[in-house]
């Protein structure tokens, strides 16, 4: 059976090129000749597929690639519906262009957003090829089938390659979107769900230029940009004359910044013939800074302790929490804390730009997850009209949300405006560590009541976070609708905020990756207080909703059960070994992990294995899916080591020696399993991370008796071997 797409807001457009190639695209805007043959100049496809007479199929990948696998996965969807041999498909990276609609890698939105359009583009092209063949053979279209790049007529044995049909197909009337039958169920797929390797692999394995920092242009110069290590600091004066005379240095100047921590920060640009000369000159730079920022980790802690004694502002309350606790069999209180953490992309922030003074056009080569926001910021800050800013997208050496904030784009644009030559700005690791948009710290004070059988009868939660004015800062929000809201008869969420002049921002699955750990750890404490098994506790919690369910209870339970089955939950493990579990739902994805840990009360621990289950609808690329789940598990364990501290308005950490990432010897084995369905697909770049951290810390408790209520792990004396 073939299902119809759920939402049809898209329009099919077709064009024939002089070369004889057929282009079929999907657009979100009807043109004057909607569903007719539009001229290529007025064509506004959201994405498109091109079939050349030689049989090569080119699929344009519109979203930026940061390692989430979108450049392989999206074209796979088109290829599936086009019924074309994957080996004959070429993938091209699109530049930033209005015609492509939203071009961002964030919020795991690529897959769900693109699902319809990608299938429509493939199916529409296939439809037209079939119509063309049927007409040529004088047979009915329903007798023709598309197979692996050919249209075949079974009855007569006739067969024509797509390449031979493009000329005729271009003359066909494009189908109505509603007339298309779109595959949506895993059983129908031939290509989707298979293990397909990354389209950029060969370039990666042979060291070909791909990433932002690999951009090389004729006459290009290299820049470093010294900002004040204290957030918001501005340049009073600097020894520019001396710097300009240093070897290789071509320009040294002050860039005036604004007051917003999210906009262009002031600093000194040094532009030289090689990056090393720019960086060497920076070591001689003396800047008199005007800085005034007293934020520190200690003062945050003091404020949090003070706020913990207050009521806070009620975000959501229902039932009667006090009565609930009175009736509870056991009431437990515990506090959890996690610190600021960094994104620490392997490729430090960089960007390349050229400003053509005669035309006023700014061209960028940007490793950005959200190039559109970069263009906006450049336009606003430097007064260059949007249409004069052209952004080429490069592959990124990691995103994790860091490259959603376009500070590095506006910096290079500001530098390029002062320089005749094209210029590449390359941050050092230290720049990157000290000028991140950190995942914010938070304190969670929980009080939970359970009945004898371990049902959650009351929940009171004081969330202490960061906020300026009325709203929490970026990445520091927690909704009152988040579970266990809706899973207990009596609920209250209170919130207090600490003013914050440290830049924060989205970090892989903003928020979820942090607070899920606190929730799911405390669930285990509650379960233990009444000697109920952690799996049973969670299944009971997910049994029925109180009011509106905060998540799909059935899918969450099934994912959790699948993880438990895969890990053989409940098996006996012996001394010094333990299993821990957690579930979560975010960005459309249901996930559950079970970690197996060995260790003892000394705190020396080894994460032996993690069993991970996910339900994100159908899996598009099995290799990409496994990679994302595995990456999330490693990221969770890695980040449990990380801590960014602030002193005098500046970050203390510098590099990978004082901000440690997980190394291969510490990495567990990981087994992934999926519940596949024809539910709308969700991305996997984010959902699997949240529950991985508590699964691991719950397992550490099971193995060693050490309950981790504060991160990083070192605070509890735990080291991962």
């Amino acid at each position: 059976m073939i299902a119809k797409a759920s939402s049809r807001r898209s329009f099919i457009k077709v064009a024939a090129l002089a070369s004889g190639a057929l282009i079929v695209g999907v657009s979100r805007t009807p043109s004057a000749k909607a569903n007719g043959k539009a001229k290529i100049e007025v064509w506004e496809p959201n994405l498109y597929v091109r079939i050349d007479p030689n049989g090569v199929t080119t699929i344009v990948s519109k979203n930026p690639e940061a390692g989430q696998g979108v450049k392989t996965a999206f074209p796979m969807v088109v290829a599936e519906c086009l019924n074309v041999d994957w080996e004959t498909v070429k993938v091209e990276q699109a530049p930033l262009d209005e015609r492509y609609g939203r071009q961002a890698a964030g919020g795991s939105r690529g897959t769900p957003d693109g699902w319809d359009d990608l299938r429509i583009a493939g199916a529409a092209a296939c439809f037209m090829l079939k119509s063309a063949a049927a007409k040529k053979w004088g047979v009915s279209k329903s007798e023709c089938a598309a197979e692996n790049g050919f249209i075949v007529h079974k009855a007569s044995g006739k067969k024509l390659a797509y390449g031979d049909l493009v000329g005729l197909a271009a003359k066909e009337k494009p189908p109505e979107v509603d007339a298309l039958e779109l595959k949506s169920r895993p059983e129908e797929f031939k290509l989707l769900g298979k293990f397909v390797r990354g389209v950029d692999n060969k370039k990666i394995f042979t060291g070909q230029p791909l990433y932002g920092c690999d951009t090389r242009l004729d006459g290009m110069l290299y820049a470093v940009f010294q900002k004040c290590s204290v957030f918001g600091g501005r340049v009073r004066k600097a020894n520019l004359k001396e710097i300009e005379r240093l070897p290789g240095v071509r320009y040294a100047f002050v860039v005036e910044g604004g007051t917003s921590l999210r906009g262009l920060q002031g600093g000194v640009a040094i532009v030289a013939e090689t990056w090393w000369e720019a960086e060497s000159a920076r070591k001689k730079l003396r800047v008199d800074w005007d800085a005034d920022n007293a934020n520190s980790t200690t003062s945050f802690e003091e404020q949090a302790a003070r706020l913990a004694k207050q009521e806070g502002k009620t975000v959501r309350e229902y039932g009667n929490v006090a009565k609930g606790f009175d009736k509870a069999h056991k009431v437990l209180e515990a506090s959890y804390y996690y610190p600021f953490v960094s994104h620490a992309n392997m490729e430090p922030q960089n960007c390349t730009a050229h400003f053509d003074r005669s035309s006023g056009k700014m061209t960028l080569w940007a490793p950005s997850q959200n190039p559109g926001s970069g263009r906006n910021l450049i336009s606003r800050t430097l007064g260059i009209p949007q249409e004069k800013i052209h952004v080429n997208l490069t592959r990124m050496g990691g995103g994790f949300g860091r490259r959603l904030t376009p500070d590095f784009m506006v910096e290079v644009a500001a530098i390029a405006k002062e320089v005749k030559e094209p210029v590449q700005l390359q941050w050092t690791r230290e720049d990157d560590m000290k000028h991140d948009f950190y995942r914010p710290a938070a304190w969670h004070h929980f009080k939970g009541g359970v009945d004898k059988s371990g049902r959650l009868v009351a929940w009171d939660h004081h969330f202490i976070t960061f906020g300026n004015g009325k709203k929490p800062v970026a990445g520091a929000n927690l909704s009152g609708k988040h579970y266990p809201s809706g899973l207990t008869p009596n609920f209250r969420l209170r919130q207090s905020m600490i003013p914050c002049q440290v830049p924060t921002g989205p970090w892989r699955s903003p928020g979820h990756s942090a607070y899920c750990w606190a929730f799911q750890s405390f669930f285990d404490e509650l379960a233990e207080s009444v000697s109920v098994d952690p799996l049973q506790f969670r299944l009971q919690l997910l049994e029925k909703a109180h009011g509106t369910a905060p998540l799909d209870l059935h899918r969450t339970r099934e994912t959790l059960k699948l993880a438990a089955k895969t890990a053989n939950w409940g098996r006996s493990l012996g001394e010094g070994r333990g299993l821990g579990m957690a579930f979560h739902f975010d960005h459309g994805g249901f996930t559950a992990h079970i970690a197996e840990v060995s260790g003892d009360s000394s705190g020396k621990v080894k994460v032996e294995k993690v069993y991970s289950a996910a339900d994100v609808g159908p899996i598009i690329n099995m290799s990409g899916a496994d990679n994302q789940v595995e990456g999330c598990v490693i990221d969770a364990l890695s980040t449990a080591h990380g801590e960014v501290t602030v002193n005098g308005g500046a970050v203390d950490q510098n590099n990978f020696d004082d901000y440690q990432l997980l190394r291969i010897g510490q990495a567990p084995d990981i087994e992934t399993v999926y519940l596949q369905s024809d539910n709308r697909p969700a991305g996997l770049g984010e959902p699997p991370i949240a529950a991985a951290t508590p699964a691991i810390t719950n397992a550490i408790y099971a193995a060693t008796g050490i309950r981790i209520r504060e991160l990083p792990l070192s605070k509890a004396g735990v080291t991962i071997g």
């Binding site: 392997m346 490729e347 598990v633 190394r663």
Partner: protein
């Protein structure tokens, strides 16, 4: 500036470099060999790994002038069709996520396999402990190293027949 001659991927290159310029920046900015990547600049992450006389070295902390007279191999110099056993294994396992660290992982593995024919988990972990992967592809790296060892010995057998 001093003029030096380096042997890189079997070819000799004469270039002017500032006296303290690390090999990494000579490769990237002077020769446009951008396959070797920068990430920490302090020998902490391994993304900048190249082979010097067959040994894995961190090019970010090694002065270009000190590399004179050595056989330098960068990721570009392995096999341009990606047919080196380590490249083939990396493709088979589909190791990369963002891919930024993988050049360094591959070069370290080439050096490891030249010393140890069939490394076990412990030897793999020891050799690659200095190569960070922020995306977390460690499970696949281990698998790919073992596969590369198999390919290497199969190639040798094939070659001797």
């Amino acid at each position: 500036m001093s003029q030096i001659t380096l042997t890189i991927n079997g070819e000799s290159h004469t270039l002017d470099v500032p006296p303290d310029m690390p090999l990494l920046w000579a490769l990237r900015d002077k020769l446009n060999l951008t396959g070797t990547k920068y990430s920490c600049g302090k020998g902490l992450c391994g993304t900048c790994t190249v082979l010097m006389n067959g040994n894995a070295m961190r090019s970010c902390t090694f002065p270009a002038s000190g590399a004179v007279g050595m056989e330098i191999t960068t990721i570009e110099g392995l096999d341009s069709e990606a047919q080196h056993p380590v490249q083939r294994a990396w493709q088979e396992v589909d190791v990369p996520q963002c891919g930024y660290c993988q050049g360094g992982q591959i070069m370290t593995t080439v050096s490891l396999l030249s010393r140890v024919e069939n490394p076990d988990d412990e030897q793999i972990d020891a050799a690659l402990n200095g190569n960070l992967c922020r995306c977390g592809t460690y499970k696949r790296i281990r698998k790919a190293v073992k596969l590369a060892a198999e390919y290497t010995s199969a190639d040798k057998k094939g070659g001797s027949q």
